[in-house]
Subunit: 394 residues, 2 copies
Amino acid sequence: MRDVSIIGIGQTPVGEHWDKPLRVLGVEAILAALCNAGVDRPEALYVGNFMSGQLLNQENIGALIADHAGLRGIEAYKIEAACGSGAAAFRTAYMAVASGLCDVVVACGVEKMTDFVVDETSGTPMAASATGALMAAADADYEAEHGLSFVALNALLMQRYLYEYGYQRQDFAGFSINAHRNAVNNPNAMFPKKITPESFARAKMICEPVSLLDSSGIGDGAAAAVLASSDWARAHGLRQVRVAASAVATDSVALHDRDELLFLHGAYLSARKAYAQAGVGPGDIDFFELHDAFTIMAALSLEADGFAERGQGVRLAMEDAISLSGRIPISTMGGLKARGHPVGATGMYQIVEATQQLWGEAGANQLTGCRLGMTQNIGGSGANVVTHILERVE
Amino acid sequence: MRDVSIIGIGQTPVGEHWDKPLRVLGVEAILAALCNAGVDRPEALYVGNFMSGQLLNQENIGALIADHAGLRGIEAYKIEAACGSGAAAFRTAYMAVASGLCDVVVACGVEKMTDFVVDETSGTPMAASATGALMAAADADYEAEHGLSFVALNALLMQRYLYEYGYQRQDFAGFSINAHRNAVNNPNAMFPKKITPESFARAKMICEPVSLLDSSGIGDGAAAAVLASSDWARAHGLRQVRVAASAVATDSVALHDRDELLFLHGAYLSARKAYAQAGVGPGDIDFFELHDAFTIMAALSLEADGFAERGQGVRLAMEDAISLSGRIPISTMGGLKARGHPVGATGMYQIVEATQQLWGEAGANQLTGCRLGMTQNIGGSGANVVTHILERVE
C-alpha cells in the first residue's frame, strides 16, 4: 500500500451563500485546492455531501461538479455518511491513491442548506427543510417517525450525561467559549465572535438542556484537498502532509439500539483503528479537530478516543485543557460550533484546517511545534465515525 | 496494486416489496452474498443507493444496513452516482481491497422505490415521487427546472437518433424482445414475460418516440457481492471471478452541454480505461451487461464502447446479434428492461448476473465457454459511467 499525502487545500467561507448554487461552492473549493497544489488535472473527484437530494432535488453531483470545475470526463461520484460525508469522501480519495489506481485525486465536501426547492404555484417547499433533512441521519422508522429532531437526540444524551455524572449544564460552557474564541481569527468562520460564561448561561434554550450555544450552526460551504502518493509529491518537489491513518467505524443508527448510551463505540473503534495504523496513541496527538456538533458530542468524543476517562470529557473544557495552549487543543479554527457546520462539508473543513496547522498557516491560531493532528467526523449520533491522523512532513 | 476477486453473490427478486423496508432488502442480499462466499465478518460495506434520502427521508444507510446485517462496527458508507450508484459502490469496494486496506469487503446496491413518506395529517407525499426523484440524476437548475422528466430526456435522444440515422421506432424492438426473452428464465426478474414485435409496435406511448416497451421498469431490490484479494481467495480455496478492470468516467450532466448529442463520451472514456486495464478490446468481450434503461441507451452504449460504429448500434438488435447465441449477448438475465431497474441497485445486479454467467450458474440462459464479461452502469443520461470487466478464473 502506498503512502498518501495532502498537497493542496481550499475552502469557501461558511455562511449563507444565497448567491451561489451548490455547484459553484464546490467548484470554488476545488479550484482553490488545485491552485494551492499547483495541479490542473486530477484523475478523480470524490464529493462528500449529505442533503443535496433532499433539499435541492440534485444528485449525481460528482459528475456535475467535476464538469463545472473544468474536469469533465474524470472519475467522480458522491459519498454520503450523513454529517460524516466529508471525511468519508476523503477516505475514498485516500483509497484511490493508496491502491495505486490514481496518483492525484481531489476530495471535496460541499453542502448548501440555506436554500431549498419551492413549488412555484403554491410557494410551499417541495423538499424537506434543513431540520427535516438532518433527521435522515437518524433512523427514519424508529426515531424520526416519533418526531425527534437531531437536537432532541443530543438533548437526550446530554440530559443523561448530566444525570449519570452529576454535572451542571454550565460545565459545558468551555467547549463553546473555546470554539468561538478560535473562530475570531478564522476568516472563513460563520460565527467569529467571542462569547462569555455569562452569555452561555443565558443562551436561548432549544431543547433542554441543549441551548443555542451548545449547538453548531448549519450553513453553506465547501472545502477540498488534493491528495497524491507521497512519492509522487516528493518527486514533484511539493510540500505535503502525510495521511498517517484513515479509519471508518460504525455503530447502530438508533440510540435505543446501543448497549451503552454514553459511550460512542463507533468513535472508539474508529480511533483505535487509526491509532494502530499510525502507530501512535492519544498522548501523541498534538491537536484534535473533533465533531462538536453539540457540546455533548465533544465531551463524548474525547472520552471515546482516549483523551479522557468516561464521565471526564467535560472536565477538559472546565479546565481549559482544550485551548490553543492546552494539553489537547480542539476546534482550533472554530470547530463545528463557530466555524459553522455545513453538514456534508464539515469533515473536509476539519482536514483542511488540520493541514493549515501542520503547514504553519493557521495565522493567529497557529499551534507551535505541532506534528500530529487528528480529525474525527461523525455521521448521525455517533453512527458513522471517520478518523484521520495527519502528520507534518519536514 | 493487488488483484481483486468476487467470491460470493446475493440478490433479492426485483419487484414491489411493499412488505420489506429498505434495510431488509439490503440485509437479504448481503447475507445471501456472505453465505455464498462462506464469510461471516467482512471488514467493510459500501452501499450504492440513489434515492433513499428523497423517497424515505433516510440517509446514513451504510451504518444502518451494516448494523441490521449483524455487522455493527465495520466500516460502512453510501455511494451515490444516480442510477450508476450500484457499480460505483462496487468500484469503492474494489479500491478498498486493491489498496491492501482490507482483505474482504461487501458491495451492495439497494433501492426501495414503491414507497415514500406521506404526511399523516394531509395524506400528501412529503417527499418526491419516484419520477420526481429520478430527475435528481439530471441537472436540477437547467433540465428539471423546465419540467423535463427522465423519459423526456431519453425521448429527445431517441428522436434525434431516428432523425440523424434514418431509422424507425420499430427498429429498436430487438432490444426489448431480447431482454424479455432472457428474463423468462431469471427467477429474480420483475417482468419475466416474452414480448413480440407486434406488442412492441402497439406499446403505449410514454413520450414520443419512447414507448412503455422502450423503457425499463423501476422497482425495489438489492444485490450484493463479496470481494476479496485474489491471493486471499486462493489461500482459502474459494472459487472466484477476477475483477480484470474497474473504471469510472463522466460527462456533462445536462444534455445541452455536450459537444455531440448522440455519442456517450463518458461511456467511451470509461470503456477505454477498462479495456486498457484488462489489456483487451471489445472483440474479446464474451457478453455485455449494459445499461438498457431505455432502448436508445442500449444502442448508444454499444456504439460508445466499440461494439458498433456510430449510428449502427441499433443494427445489432435488428440482426439479433445481441441474443444469447449472438455475436455480443447483452442483458443476458433480462437487463434493466425486464429484470427491472431498482435504480441504485442495478449496477450490482449487473455484476451479480455477470458472475453467475462466469460461474456457469445462469441456468437456461447460460452462455457456453464465456471467459470475459463486461458490465456498464450509467448514472444520468450518460453523465456517470462505471465499467467493470470480470474474468473467469479456472
